[in-house]
Symmetry: D2
Subunit: 392 residues, 4 copies
């Protein structure tokens, strides 16, 4: 590729921009994964992830993409043919459902229109109806990356509890963790699924399961075949910081540094930053007069914003123009949003000026692509940020 | 950890020393895995790996450790309860067998004493006896890392063919590929399993399946549940250089550079280098008067050397002394070799002087640990190398 | 320092943002500066710099900051007490003059108001008056970084020639080279002075003299004491790519890569990019209703923009607010512009979206600091860029 | 260059092997050299260097090679035509003398045979004879890198004091500092000269002057023209951690990390390590039956070892063979030692096994180049090291 001056703007909703300190931490000789230095590393990242997930329980680290952690959550806790309740919040919920089918489970998919998060009244109705407790798990997506919509996990837990339903609660927070407040223990999640390449500001290649005691108990009886993703295999060596097979050591170096950076900034500051950037981005989108899929004010994602292209305009062509002209990658429309919705990632290692650079690229792109819109999006975003700072 | 001056000598048989150029290639911002630049990367590494495996067929790249590629080989081609023939060449053969069991297969394990590679006469006998062709696959380890013994894959293929047995041939060449000549197509292998962190000189985190047409055909009928490791899922997007889920992009940067370096050196030169270092190392071990597990001259591994500790001496204590005193990691004894055998890795990014530094550390360590031995190992290794160069 | 998420915006007019590929090139083991690999490096960077300076003559590379190359230009060509004509275009012209005094020269300083470049009519008058040719050199600054004003070097040469004056022409293009078209040979410059940390996109630590034959001839008779900066010492070993003393090898790795990147982008594209960013920045400043020091339309620098703070407002306080709030460094007011003028660097490794991020930071900063201004600067800059692309 | 597997053995006596952590520290965006973060960096490296030089006085850091710091020592303290006493310990002493001449000084050079350090009886005689105190400075080399011979600086100071001679004592410890114990204050040195690329384990590009109060006082009256190297210019901004011109920021990042590493290892451990490696290397050279220039047991350098090639053998050809065959750079013969003496650097970031690898390369090289020698050098070195550890 011919050199393009300046930094690429990687504004897809993950992989996200990796801090230089994380890349530099990864850029180091691999060490003996059975030696004392590795042991310290292994213990450090386990402890660090517990703080990030806000759990006193167990966090398991896989050398895999987030998809692997989806699979891990299911194969460790369930049996062939088990029914699981899933909720169509968007493309990733759909993919997880498909994966469950492939593994021989029987997912029941509550249909959704990709415009809202999980509707707990629908969930409640379904759980109440399940008198025989045939549903072994409720699987939901915390931050649905395809539609930029969040679901209220604590509320879902309360709903399950209210129904006195014993189903495990499994949550995909791949694109939520590290960007949006997440509380595995407090919210009563049984298996949280996440990955390295979003809020954790790492390259892809690591995925995680945070696991409750209830889930661990379930895993002892679960009979789906498993080996690579087996919790049991992991738990023994993990106790001493080791792994049952060669871990992705260099990415673990990066993980340790990334956790360090997040905590240096302060997790609450990190969450506030994402909220601030979400608000500023929506101010811009509203000023442009463009639509967003999300219908509920309380469900807008702080991590990314989805934007509906006006009828007759292709988001694929639009993103191509922006990539070539402004050296910025935006997120594509996925599944039924293909060529209809583009997405602006504002998660991970990111700041105000980068956001405004990104929004400027979108605004100029709208002009150059002759997409009908009002000017003033960047202005609105600046005013949104100014208000935040003027309050202080 | 307190700084220890100079480079650590990572002489375990993998992960191996990663060339600085590979680490620097990894140390780069992650890119959009759905964009045009990634596409080129994806196609490049697929093509490169085909040259490395010497196959015109298909190579599949997983974001996982080598263990994942073991699992992938089995779940894509077999059905629950299938019998597979495995051969106990050492610890890794044993682990693969255990994994097969966990996946619901029915492995038949030909016992071995960890002193030889696969004995094809035993194999032949067993295959002839299997008139019903109940055995669906023969699974062997090319370079058994626990005992430093190689098996002759071409011969195994010929044996299967001579028996007219339809079993698939699956080969673990995790620690062979990139160090020892390997020919997926010519040798008639159906599934080759490998990983990034050995001869390919990368950090751990990528694994590979090279797949024959026969194996692909088998995968279409195979019914073991699979999703993350499903070839089918991979093959579609792979055609255009993409992946069905977020790939470990930064490790792929490294893979492209590592293939580049291997081919810059020349694969035949790479193999000759490993052979040269194997010979020099064995010259040292023989001079010390120590024993090696391998009983057949033609089965010594060029990639690493295993050494039996004299009775009454602990290899664990010995390696600890060497780690602390000389900042060198040696390979531990695995499985039944625990505390009895240590291993010297001489694979990956490595050269003559590093080998002699490593052997010096072993020789001084033997003295400091009061292990009975003769002096002159390093001298013997130097003479072995000198002879190579004097011939030229 | 506590981690601040996202990239720092380094918008001082040098050191500039260093491309990751340049940093990675520097991040490599140092090699023997007397060996064959270094020789190739030495020859490569010499040749590359000749293309950058547009000279067939000699380019000398010092391990020093740009200040060293100022000193080198003078000590190699002049004698104690020599008169040299200098022109007060701003702070850096003043510093060079002071340096000349310290070296025992007799600089004559044509006063300026920091609002224009070199006025060639004033120059002409002075040269005509110098009938005895007492003035041995004319020293001017190509891109005066303190005031963001360029001077027309070709015109200065023509003026000297028209006066038939034998003075050497020495030009400081520290912040011009690599950002603004520069033609050492065509423009008849005798000594061009530059440094690594501006348009060449390198960390500081290297400086350059491009030298004409006339200057080389002068150096043979020049008697100012010199050793470290002596051209003669350099020229011998340089012929073969070597240096008379240990060179800054790792920065030379970076220099080779930086030249590569500039030429990959295309030097004319690089110059157009800086012109485009200069125009967009001035559009913003004009929209804000703020003043710029530069009085002549043809003398605005494409590499940076200086902005006068409204009366009663401190640029120091303003930059501090922006640094702390938006993680952006702007250039300070220098010399008599201290606390009165701030500067926005838009040179080096940079692109449209980064510029707009930077300008957004300035615009929000103006609001937060209660500096009187009109809104709409970023909008004006976007429109300026859109016009460029709509023309194409 | 075609890739050569494994690490290059950089066994020249500087530049030395740079620790990965130092390279990674350098591999970071440049920051504003006038901002608060730089200030901290500037103060940190000044304080750190004071500890390294063992001085409470002033340390000045130049963006230049060590040669620049030679020049700085002289131009800041002396006047045109001043007599300075220098001592021919080898090539670098000779270069410094030549540099003094170029700067208009009048060096008096006590001849030496490159086989010993400074003979203080000769020095004493000369100082006593200088009744008029015409000699303004005594300039000596602490660790003469061309001959691998050290001089006893404390003894030289005592000699000067015994003679009640007011001459300044200036010491080149470019290749001594950070490898061999050095005590600027305790030894009464007035100007210590050093550089980054030896014991400090950095790439070349920084040089240092440690300065006594007496030298500072002298600088106030000294009239040699100077600007770039002027202490006075430096001292003002240095007080607050800043520099009068753009410093080599990225190398300063490296310097901070290098000081950190040295102190993590412990300076006394660092010195012991170099002593241990000097002894082991000489054991090898003696076993080979080769000669070393150094005639006095107490003057052998712990930082490098010089070896005389047997009559009729070219060190240039020998080093070329070793570079091509074993990927190791050895130091060349300099000045009158050209093609007669080669040098083995064992300073900087280095350890036992790397030393033995390096010595193995020399021993095999002697064989392959048909240089008459006895075998057993590496054996002798191993035994030398074993003895050190067995004592403990």
């Amino acid at each position: 590729m011919k050199y393009q001056s300046g930094r690429h703007f990687l504004q897809i909703p993950g992989p996200t921009n990796v801090p230089d300190r994380v890349l530099r931490a990864i850029d180091r000789q691999t060490i003996d994964h059975r030696g004392p230095e590795f042991q310290q590393l292994g213990l450090d990242v386990q402890k660090g992830l517990k703080r990030i997930f806000k759990t006193e329980g167990t966090v398991i680290i896989y050398p895999s993409s987030g998809t692997g952690a989806w699979e891990a959550a299911l194969v460790n806790t369930l049996n062939a043919g088990d029914s699981v309740l899933m909720y169509e919040t968007g493309h990733f919920a759909t993919l997880w459902m498909t994966l469950a089918k492939r593994l021989g489970l029987n997912p029941e998919f509550i249909p959704g229109n990709w415009r809202t998060g999980v509707d707990v009244s629908v969930l409640e109705e379904r759980l109440i109806a399940d008198r025989s407790h045939a549903l072994k798990a409720v699987c939901v997506v915390h931050n649905e990356t395809s539609s930029a919509i969040t679901s209220h996990i604590a509320l879902i837990r309360k709903t399950i509890d209210r129904c006195k339903h014993p189903a495990l609660l499994m949550v995909d927070t791949v694109s939520g963790l590290g960007s949006i407040d997440y509380r595995h223990d407090e919210w009563g999640v049984d298996v949280s699924v996440s990955g390295s390449q979003k809020g954790l500001m790492l390259p892809p290649g690591l995925s995680f399961n945070a696991v409750s005691q209830k889930a661990l108990d379930a895993s002892k009886k679960a009979t789906l075949p498993r080996s690579y993703f087996s919790w049991e295999e992991m738990l023994g060596p993990n106790k001493n910081g080791y792994f049952p097979y060669t871990p992705a050591t260099n990415l673990l170096y990066g993980l340790r540094e990334a956790i360090h950076l997040l905590e240096e900034e302060g997790m609450d500051n990190v969450f506030q930053r994402h909220i601030r950037h979400g608000e500023a981005t929506r101010a811009a989108v509203n000023a442009w007069g463009l639509e967003m899929p999300c219908k509920n004010e309380t469900e807008f994602s702080p991590a990314l914003t989805a934007v509906v292209m006006p009828e007759g305009h292709s988001e694929i062509a639009f993103r191509k123009l922006i990539l070539e002209r402004f050296n910025m990658s935006l997120g594509s429309g996925l599944g039924k949003f293909t060529d209809k919705v583009f997405r602006i990632g504002h998660l991970g290692d990111f700041n105000d000026l980068t956001l405004l650079g990104a929004l400027s690229g979108v605004e100029m792109g709208l002009t150059l692509a002759n997409v009908p819109h009002h000017k003033g999006g960047v202005d609105a975003a600046m005013q949104s940020l100014e208000r935040v700072y003027q309050k202080k």
